[in-house]
Amino acid sequence: MSEGAARERPLVLAADDDEDILGLVSFRLERSGYTVVQARDGEAALELAVKELPDLAVLDVMMPKLDGFEVTRRLRADAATSRMPIILLTARAQDADVQRGFEAGADDYIRKPFSPDELRARVQAILGRR
């Protein structure tokens, strides 16, 4: 957080294997005053998160190589990223999955399809309105 506070615009990591959704998340957040770094699979997301130490991560659950739950668990296990806020995106509808997401350590959970405005509101709720 100390590094994030030094930034002019908060850095958000967006990870999704679907190009269009990744574009949608990036567009919404960049327009709302955030810098977005993109990852297209779980491994890339984990690498970027460790390297860039973003202020927040928006992770799709079903991604190639590592799924969102696993990425969340690993970030939480790493001291450098253990306090990074994480929002999970999923097409899963079952409450059991929401439960699983929170158990893995996610801060919030958004179901697909989602409203971009709602995503922004949740991000802002965590990082503070700009």
């Binding site: 097409a91 079952q94 409450d95 399809p113 989602f114 971009p116």
Partner: protein, 697 residues
């Protein structure tokens, strides 16, 4: 070449017209000769004793020889020896006839030699028959019976025929010897004949006629012997009996059933009947009667002979009763084998075990291990067995029970073996039915398993498809929202309106996907419910509040009444909310402007009841039943949007909670849906319903 009679498998000779005709002709000839002999006056010695008598004997011998050639008995020696005996008598009678014609009556003479040789010949013939039949009868029992007859016969012969001759001072030693030889020969013949008759069933004509012939011969001999010892006046009656005997023996040899002398054809009867007992008792009475008669007539008592014969008869009688007792014991033993058998058949698990049980029981019954169950599919080895009976299941011979013990044991056990075979057949049929049942059950289980797998595949498929559909939908509704917000450029009114139509339909598509997923889970019983304690009053209030906006837009008034004393429910609040939402939104949707939606919630018996009534278009009575059918939309709903899945899902969720949804409607007046949920939910028993059902994105 001799005509070979057609012989069936079991050796029975089939009747041929020519055989029958020949026999009846022979009978006619025999009768004519007999009548001629009786009719001719005694003084015509030549005609009677040189022509008719020897001719008859010769014809009898010829009859037997023809019979042997025609019917081919298995042991021809028996009949041929009998024929030889008759032939010896023929020579003797021819010689005697010539002596008589010459007015001479030499004694002893060569004729006596031939007469006496005839007895051993006849006896040997019968002895061969007895020997051949040993397999078929209880040798010990018939020997005892024959012994009884012989012992009593010996006593009578001794007292009335032998002793008087021995006491006759007028006779030389040589004359005494020859005279006594006759009754002794008779006695031997009687003993062997008795042995034969005891072991044979006289149910065929040849044997009946043969026995009649032997009896006639015996009577003739006794009468003749009595004339010798002077008890009876000389008469030609004895000769007539002897002639009748010869004719009968010859006819017996010519009848087609003559083979039964050495081979049993019919089923030998049970020979331990009451008649047997009476016969044995009668024989036991012979010595006392002889004693009584002798003492009454004031004649010698011959005590040593009488007492000896009494002793022999007593011992034999005791032995005889012992065999009877043993027989009864063996019968009881067979019964016990059979009753154990029935129980063992029930315990046997498969066909091989059933066969083994049947074989073991049959083995116990015949006293050896030859009984086998030969399955028909193994092919008949073609081997002849002493006993063979089919094992028939539903008219189809599936096996054969065979056994190879001595014929005697087989005969005793025959009925029991047949019972073994028929009970085996029943057990096999039962086993077949059970196997069919097992097969059906296994087939059903396999089918069930496959259907379950298909169901899971379907659920998996629907689940995957709906998650896959959400990914493109996410982009669609997301970018539409940005477009409609005007963030990437100002929109004309038409552009905005059209984009909003796209947006609305994208959301409908999303609802449809969600409904399909839930419907599929309800179908497979995999809808995960997460039961919690639910305050239904609060839940309904919240839902009514959230529908208020839509109701206001449609100018529909929503009235909510919640009764007191509403119990807490164990339910999945999310799913239950879905049901209430569905009922409320339907009511609002189908109620025209100015109408009212009434929501009444309250306890009812051991249930909680939610009534949602509207003043809408109503549903035709004939469609109410189909209302909960998937994708069914009432004809009056044609202008209202919906997926057609909502009510079927609501009903499914209600039922998963142990509740019901019912509907009452009247076209033009309105519709009332009633949701009833039990206070004691089935979720109490299974609180952790399938919570792992979610799969894929």
């Amino acid at each position: 070449m001799a005509v070979v009679p057609s012989v069936s498998v079991r050796g029975r000779v089939d009747a041929r017209p020519s055989d029958t005709k020949l026999w009846w002709t022979a009978l006619a000839v025999g009768l004519l000769l007999f009548l001629a002999y009786v009719a001719v006056p005694a003084e015509h010695h030549f005609v009677r004793n040189v022509v008719i008598f020897p001719l008859t004997e010769l014809l009898a011998v010829a009859g037997i020889v023809v019979g042997v050639r025609r019917f081919r008995p298995a042991a021809p020696a028996a009949w041929l020896l009998i024929a030889a005996g008759l032939a010896l008598w023929w020579i003797a009678d021819l010689l005697w006839g010539i002596y008589e014609t010459q007015g001479r009556e030499p004694f002893p003479s060569p004729a006596d030699l031939f007469y006496l040789l005839g007895y051993p010949a006849l006896g040997a013939g019968l002895a061969i028959a007895v020997r051949q039949r040993r397999q078929m009868v209880d040798a010990r029992r018939t020997a005892i019976d024959a012994g009884l007859v012989a012992a009593s016969g010996l006593l009578l012969t001794w007292v009335y025929l032998v002793q008087p001759v021995l006491d006759d001072a007028a006779l030389s030693q040589w004359e005494k010897f020859v005279t006594i030889a006759y009754p002794v020969g008779d006695l031997i013949l009687v003993a062997i004949a008795a042995r034969f008759v005891m072991g044979a069933s006289l149910n065929v004509r040849s044997l009946k006629v043969l026995v009649a012939g032997l009896v006639a011969t015996l009577i003739g001999d006794i009468l003749f012997n009595m004339t010798v010892v002077g008890r009876v006046q000389e008469s030609s009656v004895s000769d007539a009996f002897l002639l009748a005997g010869v004719i009968c023996i010859g006819l017996a040899g010519l009848h087609r059933t003559m083979t039964s002398l050495t081979e049993e054809h019919g089923e030998p009867g049970d020979r331990d009947g009451a008649m047997r007992l009476v016969g044995i008792l009668a024989i036991c009475l012979v010595p006392p009667i002889v004693l009584a008669v002798q003492s009454v007539r004031d004649e010698p008592l011959y005590l040593p002979v009488t007492i000896a014969s009494m002793a022999v008869i007593s011992v034999l009688s005791v032995l005889r009763f012992t065999t009877m007792t043993n027989k009864a014991l063996r019968a009881a033993e067979r019964e016990s084998h059979l009753s154990t058998y029935a129980a063992e058949l029930l315990r046997a698990g498969n066909r091989e075990e059933l066969y083994a049980v049947a074989e073991r029981t049959a083995g116990d019954l015949v006293g050896n291990d030859t009984p086998k169950v030969v399955a028909s599919r193994d092919g008949d080895t073609g081997a002849e067995h002493a006993f063979a009976t089919p094992v028939t299941v539903r008219g189809e011979q599936v096996a054969e029970l065979v056994a190879d013990a001595g014929a005697l044991n087989i005969r005793r056990a025959r009925n029991s073996l047949e019972t073994v075979a028929s009970e085996l057949a029943l057990a096999l049929e039962r086993e077949r039915l059970l196997a069919a049942e097992r097969e059906t059950a296994a087939a059903l289980a396999t089918q069930n398993q496959r259907l379950r797998e298909l169901d899971e595949m379907k659920d998996q498929f629907v689940s995957t498809v709906s998650h896959e559909l959400r990914t493109p939908l996410t982009s669609m509704v997301g970018y539409l929202e940005i477009l409609i917000a005007g963030e990437v450029g100002e929109l004309t009114d038409d552009q905005r309106r059209f984009l909003e139509i796209i947006d609305r339909n994208s959301r409908r598509l999303n609802d449809l996907i969600e409904d399909i997923l839930v419907a599929s889970r309800l179908d497979t019983g995999r809808l995960s419910l997460e039961p919690k304690d639910v305050d239904l009053g609060q839940l309904v209030t919240e839902r009514v509040e959230s529908i208020q906006k839509a109701a206001d837009a449609g100018d529909v008034e929503v009235r909510l009444v919640i009764a007191d004393g509403l119990p807490q429910l164990l339910a999945d609040p999310m799913r239950l909310g879905q049901v209430v939402d569905n009922l409320l939104s339907n009511a609002v949707k189908f109620t025209p402007a100015g109408g009212t939606v009434g929501v009444v919630l309250g306890p009812r018996d051991d249930k909680v009841r939610l009534e949602v009534s509207d003043t809408g278009v109503g549903i035709p009575a004939d469609e109410v039943g189909r209302l909960f059918t998937r994708f069914y939309r009432a004809s009056t709903a044609s202008t209202i949007q919906g997926t057609g899945l909502g009510l079927s899902i609501a009903k499914g969720i209600a039922e998963a909670h142990g509740g019901t949804i019912t509907v009452v409607s009247e076209v033009g007046v309105g519709t009332t849906f009633v949701l009833e949920l039990p206070v004691r939910s089935p979720l109490d028993e299974a609180p952790a319903a399938d919570t792992t059902a979610g799969a894929g994105t």
